[in-house]
């Protein structure tokens, strides 16, 4: 029962969603609307579940003094601070347990949650992403080496696209006459993106979609059961 009931629900809901795509009328349209509402509610709870899981896993690592436990501690402290200031004074337009904290806002210029978001989280997050530029530069220096026909092709394409994405690329070939505009670097770069890139991307998308359909059918028909917590 413990295993069969979830399998039945997965089968029933899966078939219902597929049928409703082909017959978008009552009663299927109403049933699917209800399922979508449930999905949104459950997704909301999933966020809460994720937070509880984050708290527990970090706490366990700190208690066991795992390597790098100070980082987990820093993460946990940050999590608790953001959670508390959010609960107490809310964020943006929404008030918290203690209202909007007018006095604090007057002192800090914004609510504590928004202040921490703007001046701590946001710069840190943007910095992490920006660091990628340094690694890409270093990787380009070491990886884009002519070794074979394929690597040569990759490098030439990369050079055209990189140049085409800069202001200088456009200036370099802006003197070309109208009849040779195809060779203008931004146009050449757009051509690569629009045709070879799109063709490859579409192939990937179609393959991925077929894979998703296969996996979904396996779940609906009860062949794939790992989501129940065990393969048995």
């Amino acid at each position: 029962m413990k295993r069969n009931l979830p399998l039945f629900f997965a089968f029933f809901c899966g078939i219902l969603v597929i049928v409703s795509e082909f017959i978008p009328h009552r009663p299927f349209s109403m049933m699917i609307q209800t399922l979508q509402d449930w999905f949104m509610i459950i997704s909301g709870f999933a966020i809460l579940l994720g937070q509880i899981s984050l708290f527990q896993s970090n706490l366990a690592k700190i208690q066991q003094r795992e390597s790098g436990w100070m980082y987990y501690l820093a993460g946990l402290i940050s999590f608790i601070i953001m959670l508390l200031v959010g609960i107490f004074w809310g964020t943006q337009e929404t008030g918290g347990l203690f209202g909007h904290g007018a006095n604090i806002q007057a002192a800090m210029g914004s609510k504590p949650f928004d202040y921490l978001f703007d001046y701590a989280y946001q710069p840190l997050s943007a910095t992490m992403f920006s660091l990628l530029a340094f690694f890409i530069a270093s990787a380009a220096y070491r990886a884009f080496i002519i070794r074979s026909f394929e690597s040569n092709l990759l490098m030439i394409t990369a050079i055209i696209v990189i140049l085409g994405r800069t202001s200088l690329g456009g200036m370099l070939t802006s003197w070309l006459p109208e009849s040779l505009k195809f060779w203008h670097l931004p146009n050449l770069s757009d051509f690569i993106m629009e045709y070879p890139n799109s063709a490859a991307q579409r192939a990937i998308m179609i393959s991925a979609a077929l894979g998703i359909i296969g996996s979904s059918l396996r779940i609906i028909l009860g062949i794939e059961r790992s989501y129940l917590g065990s393969d048995k």
């Binding site: 337009e93 800069t166 202001s167 200036m171 757009d190």
Partner: protein, 277 residues
Amino acid sequence: MSAVSSSQVERRIVFLLLLIAVALPLIFPLGWKTEVSNYSKLAWNLIQSAPDSSVAIFSFDYDPSSMTELQPMAEAMLDHAFSRNHRVLVMALWPQGMQMAEQAFSKILAKYPDKRYGIDYAYMGYKVAGIVAIQSMGKNMAEVFPADLSGTKYQDIPMLHDVKTLKDIAYINSLSTGVPGIKEWVMAARDVYQTPVTGGTTAVSAPGLIPYVNSQQQLFGLLGGLKAASEYESLIDVIGPATVKMDSQSVAHILILFLIAVGNIKALRARKRGHNE
């Protein structure tokens, strides 16, 4: 040991050069002009051609990590929408999207002080469930957004009186970094309800979305990265953050090309040395 040290020194030199390449053009702007691509022009056309007082959705589906590229797009497109007197429903499929939206609005509203909340724009907040939330919006918007961020009921927001489903929306602009984002808007809004969709994404994500800019107009143009943001700024005659930062990006790209050349020369010399030995 010495090989490891030399590689580390090389890497540090690359990092230092990149820092200089990015910083110098910010201090001493070069003022290089950016050519407008068809993708940016298509996105601009969609907003430009939407009728006066149309209701549009601006979905902020990103977080601070990609704000360097996406925030200038959001500001430029919002500026354009307000200049065309469109009314903007603001929402987010990413938890931190509304913070990004508020920052963009606080900047653009300074330029349009006559725009009023509830009449010209409304903050509907973050929605969980991604594509399922969009599918539900196609059936009943009020059910997905019972109230705005300040608690005002959907029915009491003047600009949304005639907006029942996604079919009543003139266009959707999704600024997205990943999932859920532009792809989900195309699949659940454009393909099902024919509501035009446009958007902006990071330069690395753009190649994956370009197939949607096709003859079926699944996507009306696409802004990819800082360059496209600066193109959009030039289309609306604004010198904004993207135009200023574009010089840095151009110089950094040229440096990367230079580094690729140096790397190849180095590899060629090493290969020759190997043959001689």
